[in-house]
């Protein structure tokens, strides 16, 4: 990479500015406190052809560039320091080194400079990325650079992108009399690209009074056709949001579907089990960071079984120590577990402090992929998949394992199950542990999208109960359907009436639905249910 930059820089220097002479000035401008000087220095440096330019600019972007009071510039690499101008290591680090400061304006310029340098990189992939960056940036000053790159580019994909970038850049320039045709073509080119970025540029053109009428009209037409497209995609996008929100609700509710739906324990400490799951995630991340830093990106995967075991174990303890004295008195379980939730919250507050803790999101869970006109954020997608896996796994456990069979037997007829030789206390403890473990899994997932603080559980408990009850107590399919219905409903309503009203509307709809169907969406039927 570094050598590539060097080559590019040399090449640039050779072609554009033979006999570059201002490099000392350019470098010293980087250490300036004035943004204008820095911007000038960056653009000069980009075209200077200096062998160090690429390295220095990268160091600047990563905030590894330091300025000494005497105007010297140094790049810090771990414990050692390198002179920025020469690339030679320095034996003694000068006193008073300060990092060179960036702001968003400088960052933008820096990205442009780096992209313009990368346009001539040997790898097509690098050039394509650079073209992407310049397209997004569409800085009028870049037209010559783009023209030059186009004149030498062979790769078809990169060429297309460069043309689009040029079109965007041309439209970013103020309109002039003689550029009409060029601009019209640019508008057409961008209209074909589509997407929010292009829409942004075209909308600017469409509103501009300086623009020639036919260019303006073409831009207006392009914008309205794009809006139509975007609107169609936004339906799909909303559907994804709904699914994703529903999957969070589903994860939060599955554990409750076991403890509450199957066992009849109104477990108000369910949210706290989620909270503990999230804290376990954090602890696992910290432990891995300290012990095996190489595994850091997959710490979250390690956290999944750990959280399940820790929360499940706590669940078993809670069942043995508290819940088992309260069977047949569901309301008492509400009071006792409410007390328990207060204790757990305060305990976490005492141990970890009351503030949020920072659970890292690994790089492979950050960002999004574009699918047509919509963005699928990776962490949400991962949660969606995770929720499906958890639900599927739970179904398997309930249907295919002895524990599942015993659990169903115990909940259907405790006495008969006991007579058949099932150790009901053990089944109770394991079932409650399973529910708590599932809450722990939900905690791992939630740590990727929400605050992790002692209050985490409180924000999910009401929604979780709502989901279980809405779906029909004791029916996992009902829980799935309810979570998705509530998630979708909320997200469909939200753009129209706002987040708060959407939430209120959903609550009212649930209330009314329960009036019509007093046992939820999927009631457990049969003669023995009532009385």
């Amino acid at each position: 990479m570094r050598s590539a930059c060097l080559v590019v820089a040399l090449w640039l220097g050779a072609v554009l500015l033979p006999g570059a002479c201002a490099y000392a000035d350019a470098f010293s401008g980087l250490g300036s406190a004035r943004p204008d000087e820095m911007l000038g220095a960056i653009s000069t440096l980009a075209v200077s052809g200096d062998p160090q330019a690429g390295t220095v600019l990268r160091a600047l972007g990563e905030r590894h560039l330091f300025a000494a009071p005497d105007g010297g510039l140094y790049i810090r690499q771990g414990e050692t320091c390198v002179d920025a101008r020469t690339g030679q290591p320095v034996a003694t680090v000068p006193d008073g080194l300060k990092p060179v400061r960036l702001n968003n304006r400088i960052r933008t310029a820096l990205a442009g400079a780096q992209a313009s340098m990368a346009l001539l990189a040997p790898q097509a992939e690098t050039r394509l990325k650079a073209a992407d960056a310049l397209y997004a940036r569409h800085d009028p000053a870049m037209v010559p650079t783009l023209e030059h790159a186009l004149s030498v580019e062979k790769d078809a994909a990169v060429r297309t992108r460069l043309m689009q970038a040029r079109a965007a850049t041309i439209l970013a320039q103020p309109a002039q009399q003689d550029t009409q045709d060029q601009r019209l073509e640019a508008v057409r080119s961008l209209a074909a690209v589509g997407g929010l970025e292009a829409r942004g540029i075209l909308a600017g053109v469409a509103q501009s009074d300086a623009e020639a009428p036919q260019v303006r009209h073409a831009a207006q037409a392009a914008v309205s056709s794009m809006d139509w497209h975007l609107r169609a995609w936004s339906v799909a996008q909303n559907a994804f949001y709904g699914l994703s929100y529903g999957s969070v609700l589903l994860l939060a509710a599955t554990g409750l579907a076991i403890t509450f739906g199957v066992m009849g324990v109104i477990n108000m400490a369910h949210g706290e089990m989620m909270m503990i799951g999230a804290y376990v995630t954090w602890m696992v991340q910290q432990a891995i960071r300290v012990s095996v830093p190489a595994l850091e990106p997959v710490a979250i995967l390690v956290a999944i079984p750990v959280a399940f075991v820790v929360c499940g174990g706590m669940g078993v303890l809670i069942e043995r120590g508290l819940i088992r004295f309260l069977y047949g008195r569901p309301l008492e379980t509400l009071l006792a577990t409410w007390g328990l939730s207060l204790i757990l919250q305060q305990a976490v507050r005492s141990i970890f402090g009351p503030t949020n803790i920072a659970v890292q999101t690994p790089a492979w869970l950050s960002g999004s992929v574009a699918v047509g006109g919509m963005d699928i954020t990776l962490n949400r997608l991962a949660i969606l998949v995770f929720a499906a896996l958890v639900l599927g796994g739970l179904m398997l456990v309930l249907r295919r394992t002895p524990l599942g069979l015993q659990m169903r037997a115990v909940t259907q007829n405790r006495r008969m199950a006991a007579l058949m030789g099932i150790r009901t206390p053990r089944v109770d403890a394991l079932a409650f542990g399973l529910g708590a473990g599932l809450a722990g899994l939900a905690g791992v997932a939630v740590s990727q999208i929400d605050n992790v603080s002692p209050n985490l559980g409180q924000s999910y408990i009401i929604d979780s109960f709502m989901v279980v009850v809405f779906g029909g107590v004791g029916n996992l399919w009902g829980t799935l359907a309810a979570a998705m219905a509530l998630g979708m409903g909320g997200k469909v309503l939200e753009p129209a009436i706002g987040a708060v009203s959407a939430k209120i509307a959903i609550l009212v709809l649930v209330i009314l639905y329960i009036q019509r169907h007093p046992r939820g969406m999927f009631p457990v039927r049969g003669r023995g249910v009532e009385s």
Partner: protein
């Protein structure tokens, strides 16, 4: 559900005494607060306002006990009725401020000016009249309870389903009242009250009178509740609680029975909320928080469900404990509260009243609760 963990209407002997005690204590404290500050019997404004708050909470607990203890409806949303009563009174108190608000506008409360509203919304009409406010205090919670209960009981929503939709109700109301656009002051709610019926709310005499009024109304509610549960209707209530289907085959309509007590209970809660606001000086959407409703259920459980006295006792004791522990052990009081709830359910299933009865009468005829076959479902 095991019927022996709760009581029929036989355990109401103490209610009259409790009503008398409430009035005596409230009256005594009120008089003590009017004594000069140097007097050894002087009760500070702090104590008076605390006492007022506890008694208002006791009304909420009483209303919860009526529906939970006697009709078997586990409500997780009763604080909504309490808060609505509070808001109704708060609207009146807000209008009493008149031109003394920070913007000096005589007809619009400050928060409306801040939202650039030009005139009062229709639901604030008449709120400057105390009588209208007093009517709203019971009518609004009663009406909401009536509609909600009519829908729910008619379609036989019961058990946890009912509990959860009561919770959804209060949660939805909380979100709604948080919205500034609703016209009730948003998150800040209604506060900075000055007068009630022309009397300065901060004057010792006003406080003393308010405390006495709260005590008397609590006592009256206690007696009214006792009248209800001791009547034949009260027996029917217990019958509906324990075997709803059976009452149907006797020709009763449990939905009507529940609706009646539900609406009555909501009105008592609303009254409590109104008294609360006058003495605490603020009402905001936080009062709708589901946690508040759950806490009020816990007061009843601690005091002893289905005893009326227990509700009052539980509300006062738990809140007194909260006041003391948040001051003495600010970092640890939640542990105490948590263990109190766990301990109560494990060791005092009949609450303090059960303990008292236990002490008076040795547990000769105690019946051990049998584990029912089907857990859950029925509340």
């Amino acid at each position: 559900m095991n019927p022996f963990s709760v009581h029929g209407p036989r355990n109401l002997r103490g209610v009259i005494w409790m009503a008398v005690a409430v009035v005596v204590v409230a009256g005594g404290l009120a008089m003590a607060s009017l004594l000069p500050e140097g007097s050894p019997f002087h009760a500070s404004a702090f104590v008076v306002s605390l006492a007022g708050k506890y008694l208002a909470y006791a009304m909420l607990a009483l209303s919860v006990d009526l529906v939970w203890g006697f009709a078997g409806i586990l409500t997780l949303g009763h604080a909504a009725f309490f808060a609505l009563g509070g808001y109704a009174m708060g609207m009146y108190l807000m209008r009493e401020i008149g031109a003394r608000g920070v913007y000096g506008n005589a007809s619009l409360p400050d928060f409306m000016i801040f939202l650039s509203w030009k005139s009062l919304p229709w639901y604030w009409w008449g709120s400057e009249h105390f009588a209208w406010a007093a009517l709203l205090v019971v009518a609004v919670p009663g009406l909401l309870a009536g509609v909600f209960g009519w829908l729910a009981f008619r379609s036989r929503v019961s058990g946890v389903y009912l509990s959860i939709i009561t919770q959804a109700l209060t949660y939805a109301l909380m979100l709604a009242f948080f919205q500034n656009g609703l016209g009730f002051g948003g998150n800040n709610g209604l506060t900075d009250f000055k007068d009630i019926l022309g009397a300065d709310l901060h004057a010792p005499l006003t406080r003393a009178v308010l405390l006495v009024v709260t005590g008397v109304l609590l006592a009256a509610s206690l007696l009214a509740a006792r009248f209800v549960v001791a009547s034949r209707f009260g027996h029917l209530l217990v019958a509906v609680r324990d075997a709803e289907n059976r009452t149907r085959f006797l020709g009763y309509r449990p939905d009507q029975v529940k609706l009646l007590v539900w609406v009555f209970s909501a009105m008592v809660a609303g009254l409590g909320g109104a008294l609360y606001v006058t003495q605490v000086g603020i009402i905001n959407p936080g009062e709708f928080a589901p946690a508040n409703s759950i806490e009020s259920v816990i007061w009843v459980a601690v005091g002893g469900r289905g005893t009326l006295c227990g509700a009052v006792l539980g509300a006062i004791l738990v809140n007194l404990g909260k006041t003391l522990f948040t001051a003495w052990l600010p970092e640890f009081w939640l542990y105490g509260l948590g263990f109190l709830f766990i301990g109560t359910t494990l060791f005092l299933p009949q609450g303090i009243m059960g303990l008292l009865r236990h002490v008076r009468k040795p547990p000769a005829e105690e019946v051990t609760p049998e584990v029912s076959d089907t857990q859950g479902g029925e509340a």
